[in-house]
């Protein structure tokens, strides 16, 4: 009936066209007019984004129960687990806001994609173990019927950490903890190392730890797209825009000891559209800060850190962007198919990429050499001076290689203790954090998403206890340091 009306209009139009051509005038473009009329009528029907004055279909909805700031792998993982664990199903309306739908600067897509269980903290090991399970059964978790199954291209080649004399005792301790948690790791002496990997130069290596199962690298983009597809099928809304403001309300309360405390609640999130001053205030119940390298700025918008230093109000979220370079080179005589992800004593690392003797690698700079995180330009001198010499010393075949390409990405670096921040803020009671993982966020994303969803839905961690990763440790000064950082 609706279509009939449209064809009638078109029919009358052709008559009209005939009339106007007789007078030799202007011929309107009827297909465009018709589609515009259709769009207007559809937006007026119930369920459409209707505003009496103009079309609002590009804006996010006006109300949402949960707003997730940041659409990378952590944000999407939280959205997935919220929708999966909610009872009854379909109860919670979730909105994911990301300012760049091409993910050009997002850490997820630029990541090297490694996953390992060789950490020193039991919580990190458990997070990684669950995430590996998730990746293995990804087609059961993220299945969308009538869509092709996901292939994360997992290379189960393991991680090889090398330790000098100084670090050997710490490595042994770490491996003991890892084995206790259920990771399959083995220790190797320099001689065993030479037998297994003849291309290694074991000069300066006292001990090595090698992951046998559940470690390797995969395609982070595939995981991101799989999560996005599944989360869209659950009915989560996506919006491209930047969060510019939080509308909060404060209430003065007293602790049991009589001290005054100001509790805040976020009521609205202002989402600004790209290349425009237009913004949409989204009324929400909860905000989840999964903005990665820019989480510090988002936290400041909510007033976290605005207070006298040394108090809880004045404790900022210590997450800032740190630039890291990744170089891709070709070495025809390089190590073979069995090459694990090698992390050298000097901090430089490399892994194989594909079948063609290409290798990816890099190195984390020291505090003094930290590059300026203002842009993602690559410094090729860094490779010449800091990455190549230690790698060429460790693998003599790398003395002749040719760099093919390079890129840079951000770590959401936690300057306090390089471990993630998970859970609610003590004062801004409806902002939850899922950020600050300093380079191992991708490999822990599925498990962290589940932990945050449990915290939101049930008020406590059920499966993996991440209470040592709460925000309050920044105020109390309790560092939870991870010693195995790449």
């Amino acid at each position: 009936m609706f279509r009939g009306a449209v064809w009638l209009l078109a029919g009358r139009g052709s008559l009209g066209r005939g009339l106007s051509t007789r007078s030799g005038g202007w011929t309107p473009d009827w297909t465009e007019k018709v589609s515009e009329i259709k769009k207007k009528i559809q937006s007026a029907l119930p369920g459409g984004a209707w505003h009496p004055l103009y079309d609002t279909s590009h804006l996010p909805p006006e109300h949402s129960d949960v707003v997730i700031v940041g659409g990378g792998v952590l944000g999407l993982s939280v959205a997935y687990w919220l929708k999966r664990l909610e009872r009854p199903q379909g109860a919670i309306k979730v909105l994911v806001v990301d300012r760049d739908h091409t993910y050009s600067q997002a850490s997820t897509g630029l990541s090297v994609g490694g996953i390992r269980q060789q950490f020193s903290l039991p919580e990190n090991i458990q997070l990684s173990l669950f995430s590996v399970d998730f990746l293995r059964n990804i087609n059961e978790y993220l299945a969308v019927v009538n869509d092709p199954p996901l292939d994360v291209q997992f290379n189960p080649s393991g991680y090889l950490f090398l330790a000098s004399e100084k670090g050997a005792a710490i490595m042994e301790n770490n491996v003991k903890v890892q084995r206790q948690e259920g990771a399959k790791v083995c220790l190797m002496t320099p001689e065993q190392l030479r037998n297994k990997f003849p291309w290694i130069n074991t000069d300066g290596v006292a001990l090595a730890s090698y992951g046998l199962e559940g470690e390797g690298w995969f395609d982070p983009w595939c995981l991101l797209q799989g999560l996005r597809r599944k989360v869209q099928s659950f009915g989560v809304h996506f919006s491209q825009g930047e969060v510019t403001r939080f509308i909060t309300s404060s209430s003065d309360m007293q602790t049991t000891s009589g001290k005054g405390v100001t509790m805040k609640r976020i009521h609205e999130v202002h989402v600004k559209m790209d290349h425009s001053l237009e913004y949409q205030p989204v009324e929400c119940a909860l905000v989840i800060n999964a903005a990665g390298a820019w989480s510090g700025q988002v936290a400041e918008l909510a007033g976290i850190g605005k207070g006298p230093p040394g108090t809880l109000e004045g404790t900022k979220l210590p997450v800032e962007p740190r630039k890291r370079y990744v170089y891709l080179w070709h070495c025809p005589e390089g190590p073979g198919l069995e090459t694990p992800f090698v992390a050298d004593t000097s901090g430089a690392y490399f892994r194989r990429e594909g079948l063609g003797h290409n290798y990816l690698g890099g190195c984390s700079p020291t505090e003094e050499e930290e590059p300026d995180p203002g842009n993602l330009e690559v410094d090729h001198d860094f490779f010449q001076n800091k990455v190549w010499p230690p790698l060429a010393h460790r693998v003599p075949a790398f003395q002749c290689l040719k760099v093919r390409s390079a890129w840079a990405g951000y770590y959401d670096y936690n300057t306090f203790d390089q471990n993630g921040v998970v859970g609610p803020h003590p004062l801004v009671s409806n902002m939850y954090f899922a950020t600050g993982f300093s380079g191992h966020g991708l490999q822990q994303a599925p498990a962290v998403g589940r932990a945050v969803a449990e915290m939101v839905l049930e008020g406590q961690f059920r499966t993996i206890d991440l209470s040592s990763f709460l925000f309050s440790r920044f105020y109390l000064g309790e560092k939870v340091e991870e010693r195995n950082i790449i």
Partner: protein, 257 residues
């Protein structure tokens, strides 16, 4: 990806109840016209009615749990009779064959098999397992990995054996001498890379792996990785294109050395 992946199809088991669910994920064969139309009708209904959507999700979960059920660990039997009997019962139940040391091949359908006879071999280690065409997967491999004296393992055309399963095979490194992975649709060169743990391997069959992107190059790299092993599989020349004057010749034959 080299192999065309079929969609996670749910319609095939509904309209053709004899097809096993596991085949839907691995086969690249497109269904016939009738099935296609039925599939689209079902999809149309599922998009419009919540009841049909719930039914569709339930049937899909049932498909997955069927494979899980087949791969349960025989913990009770293992505790009572030992790992060899547990492994043998698991493989025989899946439809494979087992060979105890010094005995003949035992198959579930053959006349040499009876449950009671199996109990005689409680302390006899298993030296060969033929799990070809079985629905064995990552969890089910637990039963096979407990057989520490296993010398020969055949996993030909298993639809659920993938790279993750290969990463577990390092537990058999001390004894495994022969491994056959021919025709497994989910194995790629990434899984083959973790076979370097199997230093005692003398014969490896990696022919006809549709998910391997570059069979000739992979064969060369695997041969370099396992120098003492005889690798049977793709001919290294099969990826090389023949020149213009050789185009009339049969391209399947290897180039003359």
């Amino acid at each position: 990806m080299a192999a065309p992946r079929a969609c996670l199809r749910l319609v095939a088991p509904i309209w053709n109840l004899s097809t096993s669910g596991s085949r839907c994920l691995s086969s690249g064969v497109t269904p016939e016209g009738n099935q296609r139309k039925g599939g689209m009708l079902f999809q149309l209904l599922a998009d419009r009615f919540y009841d049909v959507e719930v039914l569709r999700d339930y049937l899909f979960q049932k498909q997955l749990s069927k494979v899980h059920k087949k791969n349960r660990s025989f913990v009770g039997i293992k505790k009572r009779y030992g790992p060899y009997i547990a492994g043998a019962s698991f493989v025989l139940k899946q439809g494979g064959a087992v060979k105890f040391q010094g005995q003949e091949w035992i198959r579930a359908t053959g006349h040499g098999y009876s449950r009671l006879k199996l109990l005689n071999f409680q302390a006899v280690p298993i030296e060969a397992v033929d799990a070809s065409d079985c629905a064995i997967n990552y969890e089910g491999l637990d039963n096979v990995l407990a057989l520490k004296e296993l010398q020969s393992l055949w996993l030909q055309r298993c639809p659920h054996v993938d790279d993750w399963c290969l990463s577990r095979l390092h537990q058999l490194a001390s004894s495994l001498q022969e491994l056959s992975l021919a025709g497994c649709p989910r194995i790629s060169e990434r899984g083959l890379a973790c076979l370097h743990h199997l230093q005692n391997l003398r014969r490896l069959d990696i022919s006809d792996l549709p998910a391997v992107s570059n069979p000739g190059l992979t064969q060369i790299l695997v041969e370099e990785m396992l120098p003492k092993c005889e690798v049977v599989g793709a001919e290294w020349a099969q990826d090389l294109k023949s020149g213009p004057e050789e185009q009339s010749r049969d391209t399947a034959s290897p180039l003359p050395t």
